[in-house]
């Protein structure tokens, strides 16, 4: 949590000024009962009207000064809290982008988004409240007690007992309720999950006629939420009546005690009223504090979550080499590469080796979960191999500056996404300086120009989540986005799976004719996608079961033959040639 303090940078003055002005304000407010006591004790008995008018003038003055200090406090609190959170948000955003793939896998994108949005917003309102009110309430409460002591020591002892009792009640009930509120939140999340599932899975639920069961399930969750809410409500509803009782009983004692003191001549009537007023002030303040205190642990919990993300350190060290020697004989070499994800019990890749010259293509085929994507991810250093090494243009990928390395590679993900904005925005994502003709060429190669030009060309707006495009169209645009970078190494990680055979065939032939003649790694589950590659690597359980051309593998590799049979069975392999 302490690591968050530095985000007050540039707003430290505000963060200190806000409570300072708040204290001033409270001090002025505490003077009011004093003035009233003076009116009653001095002005009223003597009938001194001028004195009374003057004292009421003092009251107005106190109010005015109080207003001015509060305005200052509110301004500094708003500026400090909002500024802090702006810094924090920026730092968190940059931090998340600086994390490696393995760290981000662990955190999960939806939780990172929550940290950046609602968590920081909650921190902001909590901080703003704290700067404004957290200082005020204790000062009023303890200030009132001190003032009481200046009036009369023995009566003030009543304050000394009442305040701890009240504190125990307010803090106790709050602390008791916090875990209960957590339970409510958890129950609410269950309800949310039910609704979400029934929206996303509407077709399946209806296909299996599960509507009644789902309604029953929802109803149980909904009831259990309601029960929990009522339970917390019942307990927290006791707070106000309890504080009310205690304060008023204390006032009874005060008046009685005061009467005794007045009789002995130690107190005046006005002073009794002043003591009474101080006690009332405490009540008002405590009610405010109780309403506030509930939001504090919530903000703290959010701050903790933000802080835990910020303390995740990227494992991967950036290299320093910013030059790539494109003249090197091999564009891409895997030398005995192995990969074990952190926390995994087994290797995902074992001893993978191959070499690829400029212009050559390597197909990678194998069953789901065999490590194809892991293999592809090593070249751009999304993950570091745990044994062996990957070389790009003769140098170990760990030596390169990451941006330099990735700048040479066009990588198309299996789970890819476009961003909202025009087609042009998306294509310039990885190639800031590309012009329209570069883009159109890339779109043509990716077999995307037909539908893009139909939809209005480069200015066609892609909506968020590319919901106005089909899966195949999205894939083709993602490929175009990689091609417009004119990469020297192109890696397609199962990124044409949603295309029909005809389109895919055209895409393949366009890629083989690309200018710049990139070395390409094409990962797929379809034989037809990889069968024309210069070499094909057959992967199973992270191990290389065969490396060679289609014809060689048909003869030598049983696994490959089996895959071919299942996919090309009907055409008996004959259509292949």
């Amino acid at each position: 949590m302490k690591n968050l303090l530095k985000y007050f940078r540039g707003y430290g003055k505000e963060a200190l000024c806000a409570p300072f002005f708040k204290i001033l304000e409270a001090a002025f407010e505490l003077l009011v009962p004093f003035v009233v006591a003076a009116i009653i004790d001095r002005g009223v008995p003597s009938g001194d009207k001028v004195y009374i008018v003057r004292m009421c003038g003092v009251l107005v003055l106190l109010g005015t000064v109080g207003l001015a200090t509060t305005l200052a406090a509110q301004y500094f609190a708003a500026k400090g809290a909002v500024g802090f959170c702006t810094n924090l948000r920026q730092a968190l955003f940059d931090h998340i982008q600086s994390l490696g793939f393995s760290e981000r896998d662990l955190l999960g994108s939806s939780s990172m988004i929550t940290r950046l949005t609602s968590d920081i917003n909650t921190v902001q309102s909590g901080l703003n409240m704290t700067l404004r009110l957290m200082m005020r309430s204790p000062i009023i409460v303890f200030g009132a007690m001190i003032m009481a002591f200046t009036i009369d020591f023995r009566s003030a002892l009543i304050f000394l007992v009442t305040i701890p009792v009240l504190t125990v009640i307010v803090v106790g009930i709050t602390l008791f309720c916090i875990p209960l509120y957590d339970d409510v939140q958890k129950k609410l999340e269950k309800v949310l999950l039910s609704v979400k599932e029934n929206l996303v899975g509407a077709r399946v639920i209806r296909a299996f006629c599960k509507e009644e069961q789902e309604t029953e399930k929802f109803s149980q969750r909904n009831d259990s939420l309601c029960r929990e809410q009522k339970r917390v409500g019942k307990i927290s509803a006791a707070m106000n009546p309890l504080t009310f009782v205690i304060i008023n009983l204390a006032i009874i004692l005060l008046i009685y005690r005061g009467a005794l003191e007045v009789e002995s001549g130690a107190l005046t009537q006005g002073m009794v009223i002043a003591l009474y007023n101080y006690m009332s002030q405490i009540l008002v303040e405590l009610i405010k504090l109780a309403n506030l205190i509930i939001s504090i642990p919530k903000s703290l919990a959010c701050a903790k979550r933000v802080s835990s993300v910020l303390s995740v350190r990227p494992e991967m060290q950036n290299g320093s080499d910013k030059t790539v020697d494109f003249g090197t004989e091999y564009a891409l070499e895997y030398v005995g590469c192995g990969l074990r994800y952190s926390g995994a019990a087994e290797d995902s890749l074992e001893n993978i080796s191959f070499k690829l010259k400029q212009g050559e293509t390597l197909g990678v085929i194998g069953p789901t979960g065999c490590g194809k994507s892991s293999l592809a991810a090593l070249a751009p250093r999304f993950y570091d191999c745990t044994s062996g090494e990957v070389r790009v243009y003769g140098k170990n990928v760990r030596d390169y500056d990451l941006d330099t390395l990735r700048g040479a590679i066009g990588f198309v993900f299996q789970k890819n996404r476009l961003f909202s904005g025009t087609v042009r925005d998306n294509l310039s994502f990885g190639a800031e300086n590309a012009d329209d003709s570069d883009m159109i060429n890339a779109l043509k190669s990716a077999q995307a120009w037909d539908f893009v030009s139909e939809k209005g060309g480069l200015d066609f707006e892609i909506s968020q989540g590319s919901s106005n495009l089909s899966g195949g169209q999205t894939q083709r645009l993602c490929i175009a986005r990689a091609l417009v970078r004119k990469p020297k190494i192109l890696i397609l990680d199962d990124s044409s799976s949603a295309l029909d055979y005809a389109t895919e065939a055209r895409l393949r032939s366009a890629i083989s004719k690309l200018e710049g003649n990139p070395a390409a790694v094409i990962v797929s589950q379809r034989v037809s996608t990889v069968m024309h590659c210069d070499r094909i690597l057959v992967l199973e359980d992270g191990r290389c079961e065969g490396l060679g051309t289609h014809d060689q593998l048909l003869k030598t590799c049983a696994e490959y033959r089996e895959i071919c049979e299942s996919q090309l069975r009907a055409s008996e392999g004959g259509a292949a040639s």
């Binding site: 109010g63 909002v82 500024g83 029934n198 809410q229 409500g233 979960g369 389109t503």
Partner: protein, 575 residues
């Protein structure tokens, strides 16, 4: 519109009128009692005069005050409990109604609305509605009772001084209102910018791998900074200005306090009022302002709650699918499916399927092929009655499917969709969806048949392994295998497979296909097909293009025809 929503809320609360009445009476009683306390205190203080203190009178005033304090607190607590109960139970009812309607809504509605929007209606709108109601009940009544009782008490003590307090206090409401009206536009702007920022975060964090791969980090950071700074400026202003309400009303109250003090002290000198009376009036003057502020806060909150309630009611009132109660069930299904001059479109201005005819006999296999995005899934929507045809009819066993219960129709189909969907629960829960009473042996043998058994066995808790939300911890292939197992277990007479095997690896697929062969034997099946082998073994191929069926026939017939299908087929293995 607003009035209508209010009436709906009132109707919701109708059968709770006894509780509501109790709540109102308790509010009135507890407020009046608690407001009587300063008067008793004032009378006690009046007895504290230098020339001889009447302790027995003080004691009697104070003990009366003590009793009233206890009773008033007890009433307050009971009122709070009742309010809680009414509010949370009402919201539970509304949530339940909303959910039940979601289960009955036509898919056209669900497809046409963002999940997030519907979700937030059932979750956060309902919550806001609850908050508003609770605040309304707990503060609105008490606020109003407080105002009138205070006014009455003040008038009974000293009419002149009371008039000053009563007339000046409402000033603070105008101040609060004035500030609130100025913050509204700022808050609106803030939520707009926030929305913009969230969209950016969603994209850049969700797509962080793309950002990293394409060297976009620095530019992403700059874009974020720009919107972040904009947000800072607006939020700072909005926060500051809205935080002026309390200090300003407090200032007005301080002025009122001073005025009451002045007028009151003069009245005491003139002998119109006692010192205890002054202390009571001063204590009222501070309390009198509070409910005004609270009520204006509650009104905003209530308005918000009404808007939320309206969104909820919209969802509840959305017309559901026409009821099929009383309609007959489909008779024993052997697998005769007929489609007669069916027309269908998702929106009237884009006609899709026109005059489509098809006859499928029991056990026939129908492959639906076509380029990406040609609308192959539309047929599934119509067969399962997720959508209804615009004209024409679809029959199963000669019965128009619009004339039988949806359940009996859907039970007849086993469906595996391209977007595999798993419910949260265990692997077992997911497999038994179509047959809740399946025995362990049946489950395992179905899983073995689809070759899912081997991977399930290796999961930490086997069949009892929880599946994360959306099947998070399983691979796409494994999810698909589970969905196939689901159908394998329930053995329906007809099958609908939407590119069912497209993301299973080649080797497993071979086995799954064999299992499917067994499953499809003697069953009518509709397959949205990508695999050549599936297509070629079909009895009938429907070729779709731009949402319409352009050709139908067997592979040989279609090849001979040399049309769109032949073109598709020939391009499949072209260099």
């Amino acid at each position: 519109m607003k009035k209508k929503t209010l009436l709906r809320v009132a109707a919701l609360l109708k059968n709770r009128s006894a509780q509501l009445l109790a709540s109102i009476l308790l509010a009135a009683a507890s407020v009046m009692l608690s407001l009587y306390i300063p008067i008793l205190f004032g009378k006690a203080i009046d007895e504290i005069v230098a020339e001889g203190i009447n302790f027995s009178a003080i004691f009697s005033f104070l003990s009366r005050a003590g009793a009233i304090i206890l009773v008033s607190a007890l009433l307050q607590w009971i009122m709070g409990a009742i309010n809680n109960r009414v509010v949370f139970e009402t919201v539970r009812t509304v949530r339940q109604q909303a959910f039940e309607n979601i289960e009955r809504l036509p898919l056209r509605y669900i497809d046409g609305h963002a999940y997030g929007d519907l979700l937030s209606r059932v979750i956060s709108d309902a919550d806001q509605f609850a908050d508003g109601l609770l605040l309304g009940f707990s503060q609105f009544f008490t606020g109003i009772v407080t105002i009138f009782t205070t006014l009455g008490f003040m008038l009974s003590i000293a009419p002149g001084v009371a008039a000053v307090a009563a007339l000046l206090t409402p000033l603070s409401i105008f101040v609060a209102k004035f500030i609130a009206s100025n913050t509204h536009s700022l808050f609106k702007k803030q939520s707009e910018i926030r929305g913009e920022q969230t969209a950016l975060i969603d994209e850049m964090v969700g797509g962080a791998s793309v950002v990293a791969a394409y060297g976009y980090r620095a530019r992403a950071s700059k874009r974020f900074e720009k919107v972040n700074r904009e947000l800072e400026t607006t939020t700072r202003r909005a926060t500051f200005i809205s935080s002026l309400v309390n200090p300003c009303t407090r200032f007005v109250n301080a002025l009122v306090y001073a005025a009451v003090c002045l007028v009151g002290a003069m009245a005491v000198i003139a002998g119109e009022m006692t010192v205890g009376g002054l202390s009571a009036i001063l204590s009222y003057a501070t309390q009198y302002a509070k409910p005004f502020n609270e009520i204006s806060g509650v009104v905003t909150e209530l308005q918000n709650a009404i808007v939320c309630a309206k969104r909820l009611f919209e969802l509840i009132d959305e017309p559901p699918e026409p009821s099929d109660e009383g309609l007959p069930s489909l008779p024993e299904i052997s697998g005769n499916v007929g489609i007669r001059s069916v027309c269908f479109s998702y929106s009237p201005d884009k006609p899709l399927i026109r005059n489509f005819d098809l006859n499928v006999r029991p056990g026939q296999r129908v492959a639906i092929v076509g380029p990406t995005g040609c609308g192959k899934t539309t047929l599934i929507n119509l067969l399962m009655r997720f959508y209804d045809v615009d004209s024409g009819e679809i029959t199963v066993e000669g019965e128009n499917i619009a004339g039988v219960t949806r359940k009996s129709l859907r039970r007849g189909f086993g469906m595996v969709l391209q977007d595999t969907w798993l419910c949260s629960g265990t692997i077992r829960d997911n497999i038994v969806m179509g047959k809740p009473d399946a025995t362990d042996e049946e489950i395992v043998s179905a899983a073995k048949a689809t070759h899912a058994h081997s991977f399930i066995r290796r999961l930490p808790q086997g069949y009892d392994t929880p599946v994360g939300e959306g099947g998070g911890n399983l691979s796409a292939g494994q999810k698909q295998l589970l969905c196939i197992t689901r159908v394998m277990l329930s053995t329906p007479p007809m099958l609908i497979l939407d590119e069912a095997t497209s993301s299973i690896d080649a080797k497993t697929e071979l086995r799954v296909q064999r299992a499917f062969e067994k499953l499809m034997k003697d069953k009518t099946s509709f397959i949205v097909a990508h695999r050549l082998s599936t297509i070629m073994s079909a009895d009938l191929i429907l070729v779709m293009k731009n949402g319409n069926v352009v050709e139908q026939g067997t592979h040989a017939e279609l090849m001979k025809k040399g049309g769109f299908y032949a073109e598709l087929y020939n391009s499949q293995f072209a260099h």
